[in-house]
Structure formats: structure tokens, C-alpha cells
Amino acid sequence: MGETRSVFWGLSRAEIVVWYGLIVVSTAIFAVGVAMLVSKYRAGRREPLRDLGQRALRMLHIVFSHTWIRRRDRVAGLGHAMVFYGFLVLFAGTTILGIDTDITKPIFHTNFWTGPFYLAFKVALDLGGLFLLAGLVLLGANRWIRRVPRLDYRRPDRAQGEYDRGLYRAGDVVFVTTLFTLAITGFFLEGTWLAVTHPSFADWSFVGWVLMELFRSAGFTGHAAELSHHVIWWVHGVAAEAFVASIPFTKAVHMLAAPANVALRDTDAGKRLVALPADAEPDQVGYSLVTDLLRHQLLSLDACTKCGKCTDACPAAAAGYPLSPRDLILDLREAAEATLGAHSFLRAAGAPGLDREVLGTTIRAETLWSCTQCMACVEICPVGIEHVPIINQFRRQLVERGELEPMLQSSFETLFKAGNSFGEPKRKRGRWTDGLDFEVKDIRKEPAELLWFVGDYASFDPRSQRVSQALATVLHHAGVDFGILRDGERSAGCDVRRAGEEGLYATLAEANIAAINACDFERVFSSDPHSFHTLKNEYPAFGGDWNVVHHSELLLELVESGRLIPRRRLGYRATYHDPCMLGRYNGVFEAPRRLLAAIGVDLVEMPRNRDNSLCCGAGGGRIWMKEQRAEGSRRTSEQRIDEATALGRLDYFVVACPKDVTMYSDAIKTSGHEGEIELREITELVLESLGIPGGSESEVAETRAGR
């Protein structure tokens, strides 16, 4: 028999019996806890689960690569990776030891925890322990010394004193302290054993060896060390068993729930909202009860580690609206736990009248209406929580009850009557083409290669009408064969759907699909990212399945194929704002940037760009609602202009969305940066680069003045 040690070195037979008793107890508590969690999740709405193998692989990749966890906070990412891998090695070590001690030895009367394997094991475990400790120090420093703002528990959606996060704070301390104790006592266990037995292979356990040397040089050997070893053995053992038993009930639950949620989450969450069944009863429309959540959504509530990245990214929270995505999830978690979870079991089984209704009570209407559905929270969540579709479902029930934000209500009524949010007569939809010196085809009457879905803003808003005219001019110049639906077009309904009025969305979508399907064309493009998104991704479920592109993609295609030749290098210094619906929703980040490069615009990125772009505040139907921001707070659109002007002198703030044209034209004026920067829609710059009459900014201004 080579190098090894006895697991129960120095323990009496009675103590060993007690130890196995503890294992049984802690494992039983763990198992009951997990069973309670599963029964809680099963109270949610059933959902089909497909591609389990693929889901598992994707989860393993995300969990082991830490790609989600390390985003936008490298320190936390590194710390977590060290804790994760350290813990994993130690956990694997304990499992191997358990197999050796309790399976192979009693059953096969053989040990494999010996010799070179034992020595390699020692090295690996010491490394794991070091990683765990270092990681914990890093994470603790991030939270308690560096005091990363997103980790404080301040709620932007509640007044001071209206909430208490003391338990969460305590939970963080307990979680970190337990893991720290486990790692430290493990090393001391090793050190004291080595100090007493002083085996020849001691230096393989390099951390334990250092401790041993310290102990021996201090004369801490023999009986004193042996006694210490005995005490530490129990501290380590009991801490480990307590930790195992506590996993389903504490912050540690994320070790189970987070990977499970990453596997089970809807990869299209928020991007493709789910249609209502035609025969749904009023109380089945959307969510009002905590049990209305899908099963994996109930699971996702427990996956939340309260890291605050969602609230940090949230434009509503940034402008002081009463919404914090993290606290919305935590409120739901508390409601689920109180009514369905372990706490409800403990509180005298089945105490009657536990209120599962959360809409209007725990989850306030003002919170739900604050959301712009910009997807920043879902996109950054390291454990794959689906805040946006959950908010959307609650909004659906508010709409079902007729409890709407007043301005939103009149906008819906206008949309229903007029088919557009401007309340303009249908026949005026194509009027913006009147200012052009060429005819734009009515695609309902004659076929064209491209069908241009213009959208409400680009059709009716005076500033965006100029952009539409610019785009028509550019396409005409390139000889592109395109047409529009004129009064056959309705609002695409993207924001109607995101505001929760699914019935109106379906009506609008069906009208548009019927109109488009009756036309003869090859591809669809839209100059409105909201229309682009819903046509491309959500109309297929309603019977409208076409090849849809955004105008920035189309323009890039024309430039790269040589059909559009930028004759003038513009040489402007500009920054570009990614629209949520184009960027985060559809991953179109590079087309507008390549287009700007092609026309000689020197692009200076804002700190928050691409997936981290800050919503202008107009999405999700917010553009139709009254502002709810807190006293003294700045609009997100104004904060964005602050961000752009902080980059130094820039000629233009470039956008690619009609709503951004409106929002940022206003924000430049109201933020106090008027005269420092100007807004241009990307098409206007493309037109200018062509060097054709009517294309340059001064000429556009002249035409404007002359009209």
C-alpha cells in the first residue's frame, strides 16, 4: 500500500457512526428541499420542452465557459470562475473520496485513493482550495470594499423604508462565510495531520505542507496538533453537511436553479411573444397569479443571484421610473415562495387564503407600464431570466381588465380607429411621397422587387418624412425597383403587442399580412426597426412569412455591390446609436457601422454600444404614455446625449430608427447640448455622400426653407 491517509484518522467508532448519521440527515434535508422546489415549479403553467439534448449542451457551454457571468464585470467574472472551478474540484474530490471509502472499499475490498493517484489528487485539491479562497476574496472585495453600485440593494422602484433587504444581505454574508470556512478548515485539517504524521510525501499537498512547516517550526505537533485536527475535522464536516442541507433554501440554490434555467429558458424570450389562444378565458389572458408563470419561469426566479446587472442596464431605472427588473423578479420569487414554496409548508400546511394574486398588489401597474421592453435586462442576465416577456404577460392581463395607463388607452383607441397612432386618415399615409420628383410605385397595383414597409413614424412624423424622402431618393438613384402599400398599410403593431394589447396587434398584423400577401414582390424592407422586427420575427406565426431586411442592411448591400457609389467622402466625426429593435433584438450591429465607414464617416463609439446600447425610452408603448420619471432625474435620451457629447467634438449623432429621430431631436434640445451636436438619420448621410442634387445638408435645408 502506497501513499494514502485514513479518512477517519483519529476518530472513534461512535464518532464515525454520528458522522454517517449526519450525512443521512443533511442529505435528507437537501432532498426534501429539492422536492419542495420541484413541487413549487410544477404549480406553474405547463409548457412543452423540446431538444433537451441540445439544451443541455448549450447550458454546459455557457456554464463552463462563464461567457455570460463575466460580461460587463471582469472582476466578478474572474472571481466567480475561481470559486466555481475551485468548488467543482473540491466537490469532485469529495465525491471520489466518498466512492473510495463507502463503495469500493466495503464492497470490493480495494482502495484506489492511494499512490500516484492520491498524490495527484492532493495537488489538485490544494489548487482547488486556493482558487476557491482567492475567488471568494475577490468577490467579497467586489461587494464589500469596491462596493460595486449594482450590488447594493437600493430599490429605484420603492421609497426608502418601504422595503427591507436585510435578509438578502445576511444571506450574502452567510454564503461567502460558509464557503470560506470550508476552504480554510480543509487546509488546516491537512496541515495538522501532516504536522502530526509528517509523511514523506507531505510536499505534494503544497498548501498543507506550508502550514505543516509553520506548525512544526512553532512546535505545534504531537498531541496538541492531533487534538486540533480532531476539532477542525468536526467543524469542517459539520459545515460541509450544513452547507449541503442549506442549498435548496439559501442563495446557494442558484447552483442548481441557474444551470437548470439556462437549459430550460426560451431562447426567443421577449423576441417572439406568444400569441393568445383564441378561446382563452379572461382570467387566462396574460398573468395575474404567481401560478400563471411558466414552470421554467418559476424556476428562473430562484436562479436569480441578485447581481443587479439587469437593473444596472435598465433605462427605466436609470431615469428614475418605478421599475427595477431585479426587484420585480425578487418580488415574484418571494410571492412564489410564500404561497407555494417551503415557507408555505412550514407555515402550518396549507394555511388557507394565501394570496397568489400578485398583479396590482406585489407587482404594481406603474412598475409594469414603466418598461420599454428594450431587452437590456434579459440580454445581460447571467442566468437567463426572462423579465421582458413576464412583464408583457402581466400587461396583457391589465389590458384584459381594461386598466390602462390613460394616454396609452387613447392611443390604442386611435390605432383601432385609424390604423395608425397619429390618428391620421388612411389615405394620407402615402402623402410624404408628394414632395418627390419621381413616382413611388403603389405595390398593390404593380409588382416591384422590393416592398417597403414604411411604418407610422416614417409615414406621418414631419421630421421622419424627410428621412423617408431621402431613402426614396437614394433607392431611386440606385435604380432599385420598389413600391409602398400606401393606405393599404397599417401600424405594424410591434409596440402595441409589447404594450400588451394582443387583440389589437393580431387585428393590425392580419390586415397587414392580407395586404402584403396580395402584392407581387421578392423581398420586404423597412426603415423602421420596430416594424422590421415584428414583420421578420412575429408575422410568420400569423401567416406572413417573407424575407425581411432593415434599410441599413439594404443600403450596405447596394454600396457593396456597387449599385450605390458614394462619390463624396464625408469626413464627419460621428457616433452611432444602436436601436434596441435592430441591435439587441436582431443582432444587426455591423451593417450600419460598415455603411458609415463606406461613406467616410469617422465613427466614435459611445461607451454603451451594440448589445449595451441604452434605450431611448420610447419602446414598448412608452412613447404613448405619460412620463413617470422621478423628480430631478434625466430622461434616458438626455443621458444618451450627455454620453455622446462627452466623447469630444462630434458632428453628428447618427440614428437608424424613426422613433430615435424624434426622441433624440428632442433630447438634444432639452439636454442643454443644443448646438454641440446634431442628429442625422443614417440614410441622410448616405444621400449626402452620393453627391447628387438635393443630397447635401445645406441643399436639404434650402429645400426645407423654400417650401
Binding site: L276, A280, V285, V399, E400, R401, G402, E403, L404, P406, Q409, F412, E413, F416, K417, P425, E501, E502, G503, L504, A506, T507
Partner: protein
């Protein structure tokens, strides 16, 4: 408790207007129709009353309109908001569109339904006469309170404490026993949204259509409808009230002849 809410499908003018061939009405192609705004508040008040009494048997909100088939749109919107039942009384065209004739037809329904409470909007946004509701109260023999801005109903005494709006921002508080008729002012509540799902479901509901004869004199008959001709500009009338009034009367008489 049964509440009858009388509603009207009103017309709104678009950008352009043309008078039809009869010369007595606007060409309907140029009109956009909707449920009268005041009636939306009246219905919301009825629905809230019903909800506040929830749990007791037999609460019903019935909506009634007088008009042609097109006016069923207004009733469907009411059903979508939560009305239990809808009745349309056939109308008699432009010659029978005056408030007295309409009130007589509505009175026929009140006589049949025997409600505890009748709510009407103060006025309609197209005719703006504020007459139908009060005439209906008289014909149905009900006490009435006009221009109501708040209703507190007490189920045990079957009485309501009601605020009615007076001139100059004054409020009058009165107590009224049921059955009674109230004409409801806008702003009394925040009407709920009738969502599209509910509207679609309301489209499948049946609307009862009845004929109620209206015999007797009319409040008025429409003789002519026209767009006033654009003059050469304003004619400034003198400052003495009597002279101005006489001059106005003269002008009106001349234009109508």
C-alpha cells in the same frame, strides 16, 4: 339591481364635409362614428356600481340605443366594456331623429325592463342638446338628476347621494331614491379600455332588436343642412345689445329663408 344605460352612436366630421342629395344631412361617407363620449362615462359608472355590489344576485347592466344597424357598433363596444345585454330600437331616419321621438322610443324599453336605475350621458357630442335624458325621465315618470359628477349608492336604503354640477364651479349634493334617472357628466370616472379581444367576443353576442312606435309631436324637423357660405369677412355689429340682437335675428331669418 338592474341598470339601463342609454347610449348613442355619434358622428364626427372628418377633414372634408359634403351634404347629401336630400340637402338635410351630411353625406355619411364623410363621417366617422363612435360611441358618444358622455355615454362611455355613464356605462363605466353603471359597471362600477354593479362591481361594487358584486356577490348579490341579479345585477345586470343593459345598454339601449335608438338607431339603424350601423349603430350596433356602439352597443358592441358597450358589451366589450362589460355590459350584460344590448337592445337596439329601430329608428325612423332623419325625420324622427329629434330628442323627443328618441326619448319616447327609449321610454318604451324602460317600461318593459323596469330598471332600478337609468343612466344617460348629459349630451351627445354631435347634436349637443342635452335633451334626450331629461325628456326620457319625464316620459318614464322617473325622478331625474342632471349633469351628475359623482354617485354614491347605498344598497340597503336603495338611495344614492349624488353630486350635480352647477354653473360657476358650484356643486349641488342631492339624495335620490331608486328608481331614478341620472345624466352623467364626463370625468366622473376613468372609463376602462375595451380591448380588441373583448370587442371580437362582443361581435359574437346577440343584440335584441325591437320596434317601439313613437306617436305624437316631434321636437323639431330638420329642413335644411348646409355649410355656411364664406362671407367677405366679419361684419362688426354695434355695441347696443338690443340692436345687436335684432340684427342677428334678421341675419338668421334671411339665411334660413
Amino acid at each position: 339591481m338592474k341598470t339601463v344605460v342609454c347610449v348613442k352612436q355619434v358622428a364626427a366630421l372628418g377633414d372634408e364635409v359634403e351634404i347629401d342629395d336630400s340637402g338635410r344631412d351630411v353625406d355619411h361617407d364623410y363621417l366617422e362614428s363612435s360611441l358618444n363620449e358622455w355615454d362611455v362615462f355613464a356605462l363605466e359608472e353603471a359597471l362600477r356600481l354593479k362591481e361594487s355590489l358584486d356577490g348579490q344576485d341579479g345585477h345586470e347592466v343593459v345598454v339601449v340605443t335608438v338607431g339603424d344597424e350601423e349603430c350596433e357598433q356602439a352597443l358592441r363596444r358597450c358589451l366589450a366594456m362589460g355590459a350584460d345585454r344590448a337592445i337596439r330600437v329601430e329608428a325612423g331616419g332623419i325625420d324622427e331623429s329629434d330628442p323627443l321621438t328618441t326619448a319616447r322610443r327609449l321610454a318604451g324599453i324602460i317600461g318593459r325592463e323596469v330598471p332600478d336605475l337609468v343612466l344617460c350621458g348629459v349630451q351627445s357630442s354631435d347634436a349637443v342638446q342635452a335633451a334626450t335624458g331629461v325628456m326620457l325621465a319625464e316620459l318614464a315618470g322617473l325622478p331625474r338628476v342632471a349633469v351628475v359628477t359623482s354617485v354614491h349608492y347605498d344598497a340597503t336604503s336603495a338611495k344614492a347621494q349624488v353630486h350635480r354640477e352647477l354653473e360657476g364651479g358650484l356643486l349641488d349634493e342631492v339624495e335620490v331614491g331608486m328608481p331614478a334617472l341620472l345624466t352623467i357628466q364626463t370625468g366622473i370616472n376613468e372609463p376602462r379600455y375595451a380591448n380588441l379581444r373583448a370587442i371580437k367576443q362582443a361581435n359574437a353576442k346577440e343584440i335584441e332588436v325591437v320596434n317601439v312606435p313613437s306617436e305624437g309631436p316631434r321636437a323639431y324637423t330638420v329642413r335644411k343642412m348646409f355649410v355656411p357660405e364664406k362671407g367677405d369677412g366679419a361684419e362688426m355689429l354695434g355695441s347696443d345689445a338690443a340692436v345687436v340682437a335684432a340684427r342677428i335675428a334678421e341675419i338668421v331669418r334671411a339665411r334660413l329663408s
